[in-house]
Amino acid sequence: MKGNSYLPRKLHSLLGVIPLGLFIVEHALTNYSAFEGGQEGFSDAIHLLNSLPLIFFMEMFIIWLPILFHGVYGLYIAYQSDLNTGRFSYGRNWAFAWQRITGVITFIFVAWHFYDTRIQLALGNVSHEELGQHMNNIFSNPWAIAAYTVGVLAATFHFANGLWAFLVSWGITIGPRAQKISSRICMGIFVILAAMFLLSIFAFRSDEFATAASAALSAVSVG
């Protein structure tokens, strides 16, 4: 590829944390409200988000465009790397390999998840109020649960390990001690975020969302 890749690489690293890292934390918190507050808590959280001003432009500039750049350029970065964990089976080299593998998985997962939820909203097939039931419907399929579990683990690892790499790439953690401490903190972030997402998958499967789903379905059939 021609041209200087210094700025795109720096931008790729920055966008992964700001805004995409902030977005994944927000997403985990919103989903977790389904675990903590059930149907009502989740509806309130969705309502809160949608009552934000200029929400469409925020989605576009804080989520969609950064994801598009980070995802497409990230695939190119993954293509530029050899995986040599067979010869060098060090922890950090495994993290390097997993960063690329989870990046590709996350790219596919996010594309599917975006189609399944945000596009369906835009097409008018689902309303904001029905999102909880919609997720319950999706998780009635065990394969979808498996796919979401893999996708969520990939995305949260990719973010947490990417945050560690961001701190190195921008020259914030320089020495081995700083990098070791930050790697522990980042793996802590991975565990917490992954647990929050997995608990929300578990919550969406509960009867509460199911009855709401069947109520919505019967309402549709009556209507």
């Binding site: 790397s81 040599n84 060098f88 080299n93 993290a95 390097f96 020259g171 320089i174 990098q179």
Partner: protein, 261 residues
Amino acid sequence: MSEATAAAPTASATGRKVKFIITRRERPDAPSFTEEFEVPYRPNMNVISALMEIQRNPVNAKGQKTAPVCWESNCLEEVCGACSMVINGKPRQACSTLIDKLEQPIRLEPMSTFPIVRDLVINRERMFNALKKVKAWIPIDGTYDLGPGPRMAESKRQWAYELSKCMTCGVCLEACPNVNDRNSFIGPAPISQVRLFNAHPTGEMNAHERLEALMEEGGIEGCGNSQNCVRSCPKGIPLTTSIAAMNKDTTKQLFKQWLGL
């Protein structure tokens, strides 16, 4: 010492052999193949002395006469970097690799990150080009006597000395998953040299030129933080610390450029 020398003839008399599987290639564009060798064991032998034995008696394990295996070496004390090769899967110097410490059969391969010239001989030209690109020297020439330069603090000299041990051997590039045909990454060694020359009180006067060279295409940006380099460096140079420090300095340089400072 005297015991070891006295033991030498008896050891070879026992007929112990050292097995080698060597990846060979006749010309740069020729296909590679492997050839096995059995070399008489001598105490304290290293990979180079085994290769010399093959050169003296170029007969493979099947007893066929073959072309002697080519390799490069100079100093034989791990300071020149010429004899780097992949030994039992890890890139290292053949001179400081002792046969007694290796599992057999011993597999020798060229460091294929670099263009292969013949057998174990590689062309490390890209490393020397990288040193030119980042101006890894200190300009002191003038049209008149410039006088003495500023002094370097002893505490700084001590850590800078560690960086100066780099022998451009290429092991860090061979270990790096981002040094390949699809990636323009300059590699760990020259980045650490920028840190070395920018730490020098006189070299510091041209620090921005070296940082800007790292910010061009084929500079520092390709580092993916696999950190294999620091684990592989035979001289124990803190390469990942150098890379992170240069990440910091190039980031600062970037903001300086944008803000016109």
